[in-house]
């Protein structure tokens, strides 16, 4: 079954996290998920927590969760010590 694909907006703030939350929960509950972060310019705290929570949930459900990142997203995550969680585009 092809993974659900969810696209992150350029500005991943609290509002964006609130909007993504129900869709992400539904997608993870359904199986593999691919998150497209290629347009991300700004990464916020709420979105980071949402992605980390999704990782944990997917892991428990043995589903795959991959994230593709823009340079800006990668830089943001490096600055807060979270880049290693996204090493090869797959949340571990």
């Amino acid at each position: 079954m092809a993974p659900s694909i969810l696209t992150l907006p350029a500005r991943c703030d609290r509002q964006a996290a609130d909007e993504l939350f129900p869709r992400l929960r539904e997608a993870v509950a359904s199986g593999d998920v691919a998150i497209d972060g290629s347009a991300v310019i700004q990464m916020g705290h709420a979105m980071l927590q949402l992605l980390l929570s999704a990782r944990k949930t997917a892991s428990v459900q043995r589903a795959a969760l991959t994230v593709s990142m823009s340079d800006a997203m990668l830089t943001s995550l490096k600055a807060i010590g979270a880049d290693h969680l996204f090493d090869d585009g797959t949340m571990r």
Partner: protein, 689 residues
Amino acid sequence: MTNEEIQAIFFIECDEALAAAEAALERCRTGGADHETVNAIFRSVHSIKGGAGAFGLEPLQAYTHGFETLLSDVRDGTVAVTDPLVALMLRALDLLGDHVAAARDGGAAPDDAALLAQLAAAQTGEVAEVEAAAPAGDDFAFDLDAMLGDIAADISANADWVVTVHPHAGAIANGGEPLLLLRELRALGDGRVAIDDGAVPDLDGLDPGEGYVSWTVTLPGSVERAAIEEIFDFVGDGCTVTIARVGEEASPEAPTTSVNPAPPVRSVAIAVAPAAEPALPVPPAAPASEAAAPATGQSIRIDLAKLDRLIDAVGELVIAQAMMTQRLSNHGLGGIEELAMLDGLTRDIQESAMAIRAQPIGSVFSRVPRILRELEASTGKKIRLEVAGEATELDKTVIERLSEPLTHLIRNAVDHGIEPVADRVAAGKPPEGVLSLSAEHRSGRIVIRIADDGRGINRPRVQAKAVERGLIGAEAVLSDEEIDNLIFAPGFSTAETLSNISGRGVGMDVVRQNVKELGGRISIESHPGRGSVFTLALPLTLAISDGMIVTVGDQTLVVPLAHVVESLRPEPRDVQHLGAGRAMLNVRGQFIPILPLEGPVGARSAIADPTQAVLIVVDTEAAGQAALLVDTICDQRQFVIKSLDTHYRPVAGVAGATILGNGRVALIIDVDGLVAGAVGEAAPLRQAA
């Protein structure tokens, strides 16, 4: 709100911050330099710096930065709190006060280069070497333990910082973004950051508005602690932050490093801390809790004009209530329970409204250490300050107008009272003089005492000077109390040469005038060789007072209760007629003048025979006791003071007016002025018919 208004608030906050820093430094000086106390000084200076930056007050900002840098090191423990350091910081605080005043008044910023250099030197411990001379013979003394301690301290001082950051819901609310703080933190130095996502729940348990992730950031030891704290200045309670050097324990009490609890852009003029009790009086001489952490109670700032409108409305309420009481009494309903309830509630509302205007007198007392430091420097005398009752509260207006007379009394005590060190030692006294300030509530008034343990009033010299000035006759026989009171005579000064401190020849009479204008009284108690005590008795408020309602002929008058000693109807044998219509009353062996009020207030058909009337014995500053002749005493109640100066024009012998329960205006007697004037003119009694 305009920028000017916001800036005015900033300067009010500067004054508060300076007072808080002064109080904390005083605690340091007396050995109470704990972490919270040092932190309080840092917070004060830091908040001034923040505001100065916001308003572009560059000299003030630059100076506070230099001061704050040293304070940061003191707070971190890298610079030890020593007596010379505290002395340096007190000087730095004085200069900070000058900087604030210059910024507020638009004057030239004071020269701070030398002091900034000393502050910078103190960061390397040089203050101790410069200002605290090592004991003679110890030049080559060598303390291995101390040296090892220093080395350990140096290592500790250079250890890396470990900062933990845990944003909570509050940090994310309202568009807050904690990740920006982390980026700023990392930008301070080439550090490391570790994320802890262990607390993040799965999606079913997630609340996107909560904070689950925390970080540990390691920064180079060369980064200033203040710079780290500055990043979290305006986060408030939104983040739990700990800051410690590697090897240190993070301070457990630091749930947040919100070193500046709120930005200086609140909108109005006075801080109002919620009182546990609504009543105005505070227990007398309640000691301020030592080194107490800042109060956690919420406070708001209120425009003073709004508060004054409330006070005015309360005044009208008091009048309306009195009118209703009168009306009901006319119908035989004066004793109903509801009226008593209303009376009690009106008084409660009045006291609560007054309590909002009330401020602790500590705001005035806190300026005293600086005055004393300047006096010590200019006179070479040594003075120890003892303060009690700083928490005693009184009306803001009274506090503001109290500052000048109080300052003069303190300068006077140091200049004329406390002796030079050599004289004190020769007199067998400790070299250090003691100046005591205390405040307490007593009988609905506030009593402030300024006491010194100096030489006391030199009565022969005072009397000689009074004779020389023509204030008294050469043959006058005066009691000690009367001689002491001569120092309040206009223009009286015993200083051989006018000093810059107190002997300007405009001193004590102006002090008495200031106190009198506040509706207060001042008295002296002096013991030769042992010192003097000046006691100020002031009303708690200037708006509402207690008075005795009396009638004189066709007039109803109010005699302020503060002056009233007793009231009586004399026996014929107690009244001595002196001729020319004048009479004296014998009060337990002491004769005091009887003053009819009929003439001064323009009343008609008043009772002229003292034995048929009522005499109210009053006490005055200027002329001692006198007996006011009135027809009857009707009531004793609160009255709202309405200024005649504002609504009409000043009238001799009348302090103001009030509105009675029946809606009529009654004049309030200026007891001091009336008695002083009448005794001088020896007002005649109208012969009894």
